[in-house]
């Protein structure tokens, strides 16, 4: 029994002692899930550091960070939340920068439902239009601005359903429960083309730019892996990955 126990204990300790490279824990806005996974692989390959992402809505991650969640780096879906954390003294001053500018799309899992100009929004060919909660998710706010700009916010209001994050909004549309939804282009875009269904890539002039800022949090101030990640995000390989998911830079 005792040798077995010792062996088990050793197994538990091994990964901790053998990890020469650094570790970084990143809070990532839900819309950046797919590119983050690609970047995490490339980052580990190029630098040897391990990256652990935690995904959520920006508001949710903010609440966690301000209550001491163990994150080194925060990749938000907006510019105001990292700025707010900076004002509260929870970040390393001067570390904030825009890592991507998000694009919004009107998407349906059905082919042929969404046209290239979004005229379907004027029709009654759908019962539910999914958006992310505009109070907490920047993509939801942008969706609201698009509807207001098209003077459709009143007529569409009874058909709106809200996801708590852009990830859940995508799920409502992908499962067909909402025929239409405003999602992040990054969720439906792979290698420069639409991966399924039909979509209208919304001109950026129809809403405020979705500037997504990254920031080094206080907890990561002395973590070399965290600083390496922030530098890596501004490098060419990461930028190429980010672009293939439909973000602008």
């Amino acid at each position: 029994m005792r040798p077995l126990f010792t062996a088990l204990l050793l197994c538990l300790l091994l990964p901790a002692t053998s990890a020469q490279a650094g570790k970084v824990t990143v809070a990532v806005a839900a819309n950046f899930t797919a590119p983050m996974q690609a970047i995490a692989d490339a980052f580990t390959e190029d630098t040897g550091h391990q990256l652990t992402p935690a995904f959520g809505s920006t508001g949710q991650l903010y609440a966690q960070i301000s209550h001491g969640a163990p994150f080194d780096v925060f990749l938000a879906a907006d510019a105001s939340t990292p700025a707010k954390l900076e004002a509260e003294g929870r970040t390393v001053t001067g570390s904030r920068f825009t890592y991507a500018t998000g694009a919004l799309a009107l998407w349906s899992a059905q082919t042929g439902l969404v046209d290239a100009k979004g005229a379907v929004l004027h029709s009654d060919r759908f019962q539910h239009l999914a958006i992310a909660n505009p109070k907490t998710a920047p993509y939801g706010l942008a969706a609201l601005q698009v509807m207001q700009g098209m003077q459709l916010s009143d007529s569409l209001a009874p058909r709106l359903v809200e996801g708590q994050s852009i990830g859940q909004t995508y799920q409502f549309v992908a499962s067909g429960n909402a025929e239409l939804g405003f999602v992040a282009l990054s969720q439906i875009y792979r290698n420069g083309e639409l991966s399924s269904g039909s979509a209208w890539q919304i001109p950026t002039a129809l809403h405020d730019p979705i500037r997504q800022d990254a920031v080094l949090l206080q907890r990561g101030a002395n973590n070399p892996a965290a600083r390496a990640l922030l530098a890596y995000l501004q490098g060419e390989r990461a930028k190429t990955i980010i672009r293939t998911f439909g973000y602008q830079l």
Binding site: A63, A130, K135, V161, G163, Q164, Q168, F172, S175, N177
Partner: protein, 225 residues
């Protein structure tokens, strides 16, 4: 009190959901509990396990499968659409269906326990007095199972009040239809409106405590009599 009209709408909606769910569950759960308590069928164990599943499954699992099953491509969705009812997610009816699944064991198990605890004797005595099966159920079994029925109602109601994961997955946060108190608390926290979140969350805390306290003290007085 910093509660808004939207908060009160959420409270009212939650009470309606919990009330309706409890009433329906008593109707469905009582015969089911009776069958589970009396049957010698081989199906007893699998059905009993199915009923208990929501006790151990994460609400997200229930919510996710309900979303898929009730969607236009799912079996339940196909059924409701062929009946001309449309699909259930994002509707109050959808939440009721979700709550029925989610709170089922909380209603069935106390009633089943009550039926099992009374044993065969009262029913056999009633049978010798020429009471038919229905008569025995209504006039003997149900009155004897009254404490179990009360516990079931209270637990079903309280558990539905606290439902969050399922509603989040199938609700869509629509005012007056699917935005219940637990979701509204989540919204307030996410939007950093902590004062309103406190009022609602504190209210839930006190209300749940009072409900369970009532249940506990009822149990105690019965024990001493």
């Amino acid at each position: 009190m910093p509660l808004s009209a939207a908060d009160f709408a959420a409270i009212w909606l939650t009470l309606q959901l919990a009330g309706l769910t409890t009433a329906l569950l008593l109707l469905i759960g009582t015969p089911l509990a009776w069958w589970l308590a009396r049957t010698r069928s081989r199906l007893k164990a699998p059905i009993g396990a199915l009923v208990a599943m929501p006790l151990v499954l994460p609400p997200t699992v229930i919510g996710f499968y309900l979303l898929v099953a009730m969607g236009p491509q799912g079996p339940v969705g196909a059924l409701t659409q062929s009946l001309g009812l449309g699909t259930l997610p994002f509707t109050f009816s959808g939440l009721v269906v979700g709550s029925l699944v989610y709170s089922l064991p909380f209603v069935v198990q106390p009633i089943q326990n009550a039926f099992e605890a009374m044993g065969d004797r009262p029913l056999e005595v009633a049978a010798t007095l020429r009471a038919g099966p229905f008569d025995r159920f209504v006039h003997v079994a149900l009155p004897l199972a009254r404490p179990g029925l009360i516990t079931a109602s209270v637990l079903g109601f309280a558990h539905t009040l606290g439902e969050f994961g399922v509603v989040l997955m199938i609700g869509g946060n629509i005012p007056d239809k699917t935005r219940v108190v637990s979701v509204q608390i989540f919204n307030h926290v996410e939007a950093m409106e902590y004062a309103q979140a406190h009022w609602l969350a504190g209210g839930m805390l006190v209300f749940s405590f009072v409900i369970l306290l009532t249940l506990q003290s009822r149990g105690r007085s019965r024990m001493f009599n």
